[in-house]
Structures are given as C-alpha cells and as structure tokens.
C-alpha cells in the first residue's frame, strides 16, 4: 500500500500530536485528513485546486514521531504542494546584500537580522569585521509552498552565490536551510549555534544576571535537523553550567507556528499557535529559551523569551 492509502484508512493516531490541529481542531486539517484528501484527489473525488488543506501544515514532523509506522507525512504533503500548489509563486531570489569581507558568510532565512546580528556580533566580535550576508528569506516560500520548479531554481542560485564568495565559514540561522543546501552543495555549512559553540568553547562565559534559572529550553520542532541544533545548545548550556528543563515536558503544543508557511499564508493561525504555547509555558516560572531565532521572534510578541545568544555574557 502507498503511504497515503495507509493514512486514508487510519483512524488518525497522530492527531493529538499535530500543533495545527490543536488550534484548528477540524478533521480536514489533521494529518490524517490532509493525507486522506490527497488520496481522494488521486482517485478523482476532489480537484487539485480544492486541496486547500495541504497548506495547513507547518512541517513540524510531530505526526511522524507519533505514527506507529513512521509514515512520511511531510514528504507526502510537500510533494502534493509541489505538484498542485501555487503555480504563480512569486519568490524573492537569493542575493548578496552586504559584504564586509567574506571570512564569514551568513545565509539569512528570515526578516530578523538586526537584533539577531547584534547579539551574534557581541559574542563573536570578529563577525563585525568580516561578514557577508546573503538574503535567502525567499527559501521558505519556495520550499514550504512546495513549488518544485521554483525551488530548484532557487537552490541553484543559492549554491552559485556560495561558490562566488570564497568564505572560511558559512553559517545560517535556519536548520532547514542548512540541511537542504548541505544535500546539494559541496560546502560545509554550520548552524549559527554550532558556529557560536566553536567560537566560545575555550572562552570564559557566564549567564547574564537577569536570566532566571531554571532555564526552560524549547528546542526547535523541525525534524530535519533538530537533533543537531539541540546537541549544540545542550553543550553550550553545559558550559554555562545552568540548570535547564526540557520545555516539551510542559506542553503538548509542539510548534509555535513560526516556521513552515503560516506566517505568509495564514498569520492568524500562526498567532493562535503562539498564544496556545504561551498559555502553556507562562505559568511554569523560569526563563524560556529557544535556539531558533524565528521561534524566539514569533513568541516574543506574547511572552518574554530569549534566544541562546541573549542569555550569555563573555567574561573577559
């Protein structure tokens, strides 16, 4: 049986794991509902243009974790988006927007560069002298809206830009971006927190005074590379010698809605997700920590949260 045919006959064991279903509790946007409608489309019961629900998924991967047979829900949905998605997709192509030297190249995936960069530069002073920024904020649209053709073009252009800048270190704030480019390009690409780890590991660093322990650490939900990100964050927290708790023990809201595509396609749901998570996290006490800037930025509108960059001081 094909994967989508299996979901179509499943009662939906993964339903409670889906953060979108949590804020929009309707069968058609549950993982089972989405995949079943794709199966029904393939049988001719629905038109491609009517598959609105394939865009109701933030690709967090929690359904896959909950699925007893690991059905690759994200692949099925992204493939459907690629085939039946927005054909007239307008995508901002990647471009080099600032060159201060090219020792470090930062591939920026969101619109959050200024505070993020200030923080990063504070911890890695050398970044101020030597940084090339590539604006790759269009990648979310191409990837998560799944326009396959446009994504291929996008990826090629990005790799070409990387070839042009002759950098010592290439890093990114985006886990997805890293994993995807790594698949095609012959470059070593580091996650921002990985880069940070390499730079501070022999230094004397301390927790900022205003940060309250315990730290409630909320790892990024993206299944493509979250183990990698989490690994570095935990190493850094160890270096800081702080007490931390896994935030996911306190909430079943697996995603804050920052990732995926909701911020472009359905901001209302993305905000509902953030508020839901906020409600569950707000009464724990302690400081809430993210290692993904987009999550931090998204939740920051509702609750006091920090990114890993913001909780530490270099003690010189």
């Amino acid at each position: 049986m094909k994967y989508e045919e299996i979901c179509a006959v499943c009662p939906g064991i993964c339903k409670p794991a889906c953060p979108v279903y949590k804020v929009l509790p309707r069968q058609p946007v549950s993982p089972q509902g989405i995949i079943r409608s794709i199966a029904l489309f393939r049988k001719g019961h629905v038109e491609a243009s009517e598959l609105y629900n394939i865009f109701h998924c933030v690709a967090c991967g929690y359904c896959i974790k909950a699925c007893p047979i690991d059905n690759p829900v994200i692949d099925i949905i992204l493939e459907a988006r690629g085939r039946y998605g927005y054909e007239e997709l307008e995508v901002k192509q990647p471009e080099v927007i600032s060159i201060d030297g090219n020792r470090y190249v930062w591939i920026m995936s969101g619109e959050c560069e200024s505070i993020y960069l200030d923080n990063l530069r504070r911890l890695i002073p050398r970044l101020s002298e030597s940084l090339t920024i590539i604006d790759a904020s269009g990648i979310y649209r191409t990837y998560y809206l799944g326009n396959e053709g446009s994504y291929e073009i996008y990826k090629d252009r990005l790799v070409q830009l990387l070839d042009e800048v002759n950098a010592d270190w290439i890093f990114t704030d985006s886990i997805e971006l890293t994993s995807m480019i790594l698949k095609v390009a012959d470059h070593d690409i580091y996650l921002d927190i990985e880069l940070l780890y390499h730079h501070i590991k022999d230094k004397n660093i301390a927790l900022k005074e205003n940060i309250r322990e315990p730290i409630i650490y909320f790892s990024s939900c993206n299944p493509l590379a979250n183990d990698k990100a989490k690994g570095y964050t935990l190493k850094i927290l160890d270096m800081l010698n702080v007490e931390y708790i896994d935030g996911r023990e306190y909430t079943h809201m697996n995603c804050c809605g920052a990732g995926g595509i909701y911020r472009y396609t359905n901001n209302n749901i993305s905000e509902k997700m953030a508020k839901h998570l906020y409600n569950e996290l707000s009464n724990i006490g302690g400081s809430i920590l993210f290692d993904n800037w987009k999550c931090r930025d998204h939740l920051d509108r509702y609750i006091n949260v920090s990114h890993l960059f913001e909780i530490m001081d270099l003690v010189i």
Binding site: M1, E5, I6, A8, V9, C10, P11, G12, I13, C14, K15, P16, P25, R26, Q27, P28, G33, R36, S37, L40, K43, H45, V46, E47, E50, L51, Y52, N53, A66, C67, P68, I69, Y250, H252
Partner: protein
Amino acid sequence: MDSFEDRYEEFYGELGRILPTDRYSDSIVDRIIYSRDYWPLKVFGEAMDGEIEVPRLVLYPESTEDVAYIIKLANRYRIPIIPYGGGSGVVGAAYPSKNSVVMDLSGLNYIGEVDDENLIIEVGPGVLIFDLERYLNSKGYTLRHIPQSFPEAEVGGLIATRSTGEFSSKYGGIEDLLMSLEVVLPNGIVIRTKKVPRRSVGPRIEEIFIGSEGIYGVITRAVLKIRPIPNIDIRKAYVFDNFLAGIKAIREMARYDIFPPVVRLYDREEVHLRFAEYPDITGKSLLLLIFEGYDDRVVLEADYAEKILNKYGKEYTSDPVDKWLDKRFDVISEISRILSIGAVYDTIEVSGLWSDLPSIYNSVKDKASSIKGVITVMTHLSHIYRHGGCLYFTVGGIPPENITLSEFYHSVWKTIMETVLEYGGSISHHHGIGLMRRRWISREHGDGVYLLRALKESLDPRKILNPYKLIGDDDEI
C-alpha cells in the same frame, strides 16, 4: 418551500447572519472528509473505490450559543444535523447522508480548572480524551478512561456512545465517570444538570444522553469525575489451557470483589496473532492483568487474585503486558497488513452473564467461522463485572467472488447478532448501534424500544438530530 433544496437554501442563507463565515464550510474537501466516521464498512469501501456520499455542509461551532443557534435554525428549516466528534465511531453513528449537515463539535474544547476538593472537572465535548488525560496527569490526576481510540475520540462522542475504556474493570465505563451535562435539545433549549454525587429526584436525566448517539440532544459540556493518579501498578499474566477455563477463573476473582482495572483474556486464535513471539503459549489462552492504586492494598489484591487464578491456570511472565501497553493504540500496522492481502475485518463486542458467555462464545465462533470468506474469528474477554463481561470478537476475511463487501459484512453481522440474541446476550457492550446494528434494536429492547422512539418523537418531532440512527427503521436512510 417543501423540497430539501428550498429549505436548505433558506437555512444556508440565514446561517451567515450569526455564524462567522469561518465556522462553516461547503468546500468539497471538508465535506468529503466528513463523509464517514470509522465504520469499517465505509472505511474499507472508500479504500476499495466504493461510492462516497458527501454531506451538504460542515459546521464548526465554537460555543454552546453557536450550537443552540444552529439547532434552532435547523429546526425551522427541517435540516438534518449530524453531531460529529472525533469520528472514531465504528458503527456509522456519525455517518451523514447527502441531505444532511455535519456539525463537528471539536471546536468546543474548553478544559476547566481541576476542582480538587470535589475531584471533578468541567470540559467541552470536543476535547480529545488524549489531551484531557494528559492535562490531568500533568496536575497529578486521572480520568482513567482510556479506550483503544484514545488518540482519536472526544469526550462528547465517548458519552454519546456509552463508551468504555481499557481500565474499566475497576473504574467503570463513561457513565460511571460522568457527573453532569449541559445539552442543547432539538428545539434549541439548553439544559444543565446539577453537580451532585447522587440524587433521588426521578430518573437520571444524564442517562437519556449517555449512549444516545446524538439523537436526543447535543452535548455541549460535561462534568467528569476524576481521581488522583495511582502511583503503584502491578502487572501480571496467566496462562490457561483454554478460554473457558480462563473465564471461570476471572468469574471467581470478580465474585470476591477483585477488580484489577485491566483484565484481558485472549483466546488461542488471538494469542496466535498477537503474541506469536511466545511460542510456549501457542494454543493456550492468555490473561493480562494490571492492578493499581495508592498503597499496599494493591499488593494484597494481586496476591489474592493469584491464589484464585492459580487454581485454574499458571502464572506467566508479565512481558506480554508490557508489550500490550506499548502497542495498544497502534491499529494501523495491522490494518495495513490486512488490507494489503485484500482482506477486511470488523470488531463486534457483545455482553452477557457469566452463565451465558460460554455458549455465546462457542456458537459465535462456530457459526461465524463457517461463513464463506471468513478466515479468522478471534476473541478476547475484557471489561468484567461481578455478574458477567464483554466478549470482543474480531472477524477477518476476504469477500468471496460475486459477493459485495457490504453483503459480506452483513452476513457476518447477522450471524453474530442473531446468535448473541439467541443466547440471551446484548448486541453491544460499548460501540453502540449507529446504522450497523439498527436492524436488531427492536429485538434487543423488545417493547422497550417504543419508549426510546416516543422520546425521540416528543423531543425531536421534526427529526433533525441524527435521524435514523440508533432506533430508526432500516429502510429509512
């Protein structure tokens, strides 16, 4: 204005005056997703390219007021409304027809504060039982209502089907865990019953709605009885030469008030399928037990049980209990295996007194196994009472050539239902009636069915709430 179309147009036109547009949808994707619940006949029918009948509209109310408004409007224009919870019902109780409107209650998912002094909690019908249990556990409490559909079913659906959970032998079914209800009646009036542990003020109003499959009213709130989460559990397994010896052993345990929450006795066919990695018990019957509680009483209870059970069988490693706990919600591995060989299955649960269970078991096995196309009839006994228990049959087979899926299903069901009635059992222990079992409801209740029909007639004379389900005539849909 008498055709359905005319009435529907008026209904649809007025709906938008009060309900925001994002609370209803006539998108084909939405309608097709609600075109069935988890009635296997329709699930497999869809997979095998059977016909799909889609409802006209899907409603997504978010409050009691939304529900009351919709019901009043539906009443004015005589529009059938099908309450829909998690859609995990297996007898077609939430199955809509093409001239009906589905009302998904999942948006009424309020979870109130735990009332620790009285050990109760108020919730909306749309709360997933999984989410509720998780929430309660995080605060140190439990409802302990854990059906196999734990990830999918919602509180309202569980009440409306009179469901029971895997831990029921100690804690009871949903009827034992429910204190009071808020219900929107078919005329739009909202009633709320009182929160008290018991009262002598006439028949219990809540009972009208427990197991009513949405035909008498729409549940919009429920007050549930909770308890502190048990902190001790003891897992045990026993092996018996045959299923009937196991039944005798369990009966004696129940007679002396030993009710572990989980009691599951598998016959040899089910042992063969589910516990194949334990070759030494092939051909035998296996009993899984979980005892739990807060202190030494749990140990004492398990010890007493052991004395009784060892008279009839032998203690076995408790590994199979862990295995069962680990895999119990995974139905999809098995379903995909069954379908990939072109087979189908259904589960049929019935109940009876201890004295009737052996003959029900033997006759159902005999008769169902001899139906052309049936490959296996497996059975377990679970949900026990001092006076009897539930037999849960799983029938698997491949429809023979020239016989449709529907004819195959109906022949299996007819055989089992009639056998159970013949031997004095009840046609359903917890899945309910829906469309699948309607044909036998009169034989189940005898003249009592007129009472249920009269109640429907007086509460819902215009037949707007889930018509034809539970007590409807077979040819009505």
